[in-house]
């Protein structure tokens, strides 16, 4: 495998998975309840997320959702026995690495079209990249998951690259 040495934190079987789907695509109908609870929890009370007239006055066809909410509209709940004592989903990390912990490192969003309450959205997550880097605290692995969100007619509404830092 290219770049894999005896000190690699990335097993060859993991490196070979770049480009693969990480899970079956998920499809949901975006609800006002979910979006508005998210907006309230963030502290973003922009009326375009709550009020039809305000959304239309701002040029939208109906109530829209906060741009980053689409990622959470697609989060699937789990049974309690599928959640570890640390609160993380068991078996949620299909990427095998020789590391202890993965931290959230950032995100890169493209917002192509607004997402409205009532839209049916499908999200498809792929392993976009996995690289080992040398940091001030030693080697770490940068994992990039790319999620593409599409409407029922296949139009891309948003895309995000979520960066995980594993060490």
């Amino acid at each position: 495998m290219r770049g894999v040495s005896t000190t690699s934190l990335i097993p060859a079987e993991t490196a070979a998975r770049v480009g693969e789907l990480l899970a079956p695509p998920v499809t949901v109908t975006v609800t006002a309840e979910g979006s508005q609870r998210y907006a309230q929890a963030v502290g973003d009370l922009n009326p375009i997320y709550f009020d039809e007239a305000a959304a239309r006055a701002a040029g939208y066809r109906s109530v829209v959702v906060p741009p980053t909410y689409v990622a959470y509209a697609l989060v699937q709940g789990r049974a309690l026995h599928d959640i570890g004592t640390d609160g993380l989903f068991v078996g949620d990390q299909p990427i095998r690495l020789e590391v202890a912990r993965i931290m959230f490192g950032g995100e890169e969003w493209d917002f192509v079209a607004p997402v409205h309450v009532g839209d049916v959205i499908t999200g498809e997550a792929r392993l976009a990249a996995i690289d080992q880097k040398d940091g001030s605290k030693g080697p770490f692995v940068r994992i990039t998951r790319e999620i593409t969100y599409r409407t029922a007619s296949g139009e891309v509404v948003a895309r995000t690259r979520q960066i995980g830092i594993a060490r």
Partner: protein, 142 residues
């Protein structure tokens, strides 16, 4: 939510966005965990957060990203459309502390305005650098 609507042709590189302060209560962290179905204990259980090496429960990286998104969309006004946003979570943020959001215009190209945006603590340490591209109306095009 912004009272004023910015126009692309009235902006130039170097223009500074107003600073916004955010401060998360412990209740907010709990509600954000609930609203995003995130059961990770580092966001609501102090003892467990310390076990993982944090000084206290920590603010979710994506919540700070959502604050950055709101910082941009509030500034962009009702006619503005955020086309892209990226950020890096470099350090953890804690509840019940003030964090400042800053921004400045780095480029204007037609109706697209590029912003450098970031979150810093009151001492000026940058926790989360980022960049946004916003589509704004132009007065010279009606």
């Amino acid at each position: 939510m912004s009272a004023a609507q910015p126009y692309a042709d009235e902006l130039a590189p170097g223009a500074v966005l107003p600073t916004v302060l955010r401060n998360a209560s412990r209740v907010q962290l709990f509600l954000y965990s609930a609203a995003t179905w995130n059961p990770h204990r580092i966001h609501y259980d102090v003892d467990y957060a310390r076990f993982e090496g944090h000084p206290d429960i920590i603010v979710h990286g994506p919540l700070q990203g959502a604050w950055l998104s709101q910082y941009v969309t509030d500034w962009a006004g009702p006619a503005g459309r955020m086309r892209s946003l990226q950020w890096q979570n470099r350090a953890s943020a804690l509840p019940e502390r003030d964090y400042e959001f800053h921004g400045r215009v780095t480029a204007v190209d037609g109706d697209l305005v590029t912003l450098e945006v970031w979150e810093q603590d009151p001492d000026g340490n940058v926790l989360m650098p980022g960049e946004a591209v916003v589509q704004l109306p132009r007065r010279d095009r009606g």
